[in-house]
């Protein structure tokens, strides 16, 4: 998103009202009200998303691709419509051709690593990642390091939890691919992606954006980011599990071979060889996540209706409020691992309270029905950089408000007293 976008919209979310759309949040878990602060792992979903999928399963399901009967045509139409909706949501210039549905963001990045990487990279070629990446945007490249002998370079993190771009040009020099998250799932850090993309492009590299965390929370436009590939997941943005998205520039997608092979992705099959289909079909072997695409469409419509800029602003305000309260309440006992501003960060707060182990913290918080995540958050290299093996992490979304933050702080106080 651009700064002007954020500045121009400040419509307050009606969280009270929004919570009503989420049964777990309005009716509780086994009847007990919960503060769900783990949306960075997976969001909840509104009734309209669930209803869209149920309705699809009940009255519109058939397999897609070329069914002649009306029911199959309907399923086809809904599935292709999901592609268009998803593409437009991230500003894809050619949504019908540039959106590939995968099972999650992880598969989307693996698709790039296999289809592009395995065929375009050879020994000694350079791939650049950052120190704050999620394993989804690391392991595929590390596997290429092993399989193809590529060299992996790392953009380091500074002590203020922002990326250290002082040597950016040096690092990307000669690189073939630069992969960077749009937002850290541990720190909340939002790197200056456009700047990195510019440097990468100048160096002749293509650029992969891991949008798993930012796409659900902000207005993201692939043209403004100037990325070549963008990956994200349905389940973190009010959509179903079982669906992820890869956006890729049409020319780029068109230039690479398939990844997974099977039905639907070929024009012809002989025992001697295959003729792959056009994009995006080439990358969608087998029966795709049809109901999931229908659910994702409903989720995007719900998000669009509320407004991505409003959601981003809401997260930022709630994060600022929470960080303030945490500092006021716990003073020097609390450490927040993430940028101190709200400008370069999203609504993810990793924290340490005294020397209480994150798992103990999360356990005590659960007793107060405050749901946070403890662990390495699939970011082992970052944990090493932070000098720890785990953090406790609270994360916000459009259905959270200050009452959730207050419950977090109250429950943390309880933990402090138990382990005090």
């Amino acid at each position: 998103m651009t700064d002007t976008d954020i500045a121009t919209t400040k419509t307050q979310l009606d969280v009270e009202h929004i919570k009503q759309d989420f049964p777990l949040l309005s009716k509780g878990f086994h009847g007990e009200s919960i503060a769900y602060l783990d949306s960075a792992a997976s969001s909840q979903r509104p009734t309209c998303v669930i209803d869209a999928m149920s309705g699809y399963y009940n009255y519109s399901h058939a397999n897609v691709h070329r069914g002649v009967y009306k029911l199959a045509e309907e399923a086809d139409r809904l599935y292709e419509n999901a592609r268009i909706t998803t593409g437009k949501f991230v500003g894809a210039p050619d949504p019908a051709r540039e959106i590939v549905f995968t099972k999650n963001a992880t598969e989307a990045i693996n698709l790039i690593a296999y289809s592009w990487g395995m065929h375009r990279l050879s020994e000694g070629d350079v791939v650049v990642v950052t120190e704050i990446e999620h394993h989804a945007n690391l392991v595929p490249w590390i596997m290429l390091h092993k399989e193809r002998g590529i060299e992996l370079r790392v953009i380091p993190m500074r002590d203020d939890y922002l990326l250290d771009l002082d040597n950016l040009e040096e690092i990307v020099d000669g690189a073939k691919l630069v992969a960077c998250t749009l937002m850290s799932n541990v720190l909340g850090t939002i790197p200056p992606f456009k700047k990195i993309a510019d440097a990468a492009h100048s160096a002749g590299a293509i650029v992969v954006a891991d949008g798993a965390q930012l796409v659900p929370h902000a207005h993201v436009d692939v043209k403004e980011l100037d990325c070549d590939f963008l990956a994200f997941s349905g389940h973190k943005m009010l959509g179903p599990t079982g669906i992820g998205v890869l956006w890729g520039k049409a020319e780029l997608l068109d230039s690479i071979p398939p990844f997974i092979g099977g039905g639907g992705m070929i024009l012809d099959v002989k025992f001697e060889g295959i003729v792959p289909a056009e994009i995006p079909t080439r990358f969608e072997a087998g029966t795709p996540p049809i109901a999931e695409a229908v659910g994702l469409t409903a989720a995007i419509e719900y998000l669009d209706n509320i407004g991505m800029n409003n959601i981003f602003h809401h997260d930022a305000e709630l994060t600022a409020y929470t960080i303030d309260s945490l500092k006021n309440t716990f003073g020097r006992d609390i450490t927040i691992m993430g940028p101190d501003t709200t400008e370069n960060r999203g609504g993810v707060i990793s924290l340490a309270l005294k020397d209480i182990h994150p798992h103990d913290l999360a356990q005590v918080l659960d007793e107060s029905n405050v749901c946070i995540r403890a662990g390495h958050h699939c970011a082992k290299p970052l944990m090493r950089r932070l000098g720890t093996s785990a953090t406790a992490r609270a994360s916000f979304y459009l259905y959270n408000d200050t009452s959730d933050a207050d419950r977090l702080i109250e429950a943390l106080s309880k933990a402090a007293s138990i382990f005090g």
Partner: protein, 169 residues
Amino acid sequence: MSSSGLEDLYREIILDHYRNPRNRGSMEVPPSQRVEAYNPLCGDEVIVYLLEKNGVLEDVRIEGQGCSISQSSASLMSAAVKGKTIEETRQIISDFKKLMSIHESKLEDGTDDAQMDIDMDAMGELAALQGVVRFPVRIKCAILAWNALAQGLDEISGSSPDEPRQVEK
């Protein structure tokens, strides 16, 4: 349109052209031009032969096999363009593609900007294919031969093709 989509699709004219295809056969190459169009979705194929002289399509022949829609559309096409100039033929192709895209454009945009100016009367028997737009998967069938024709014209004019050679998605 009539309430029964099926009768709209399989109009008598279409079935007639399917059962008794016009201009069936091949021609010597050269002087004629031979162009194939393959529908990867079903494996069907239409082959079009064009004999051009002084800017006029003196003869058109059709070979290949496929469903009633692709075969009748090829037959109707051959009858419509035989004897026409290259210019006139391009206009007919353009009108026909407009006819077929009404539904597709609706599909993609949700908008109904399909009030296109097609002179339906001028289309003659070709208008019988209008019912196809209600059956999105079959549009590809109807367009098959026309893609071959368009490509053939490009080759005749020696220009680079301005139409994709395969059926659009």
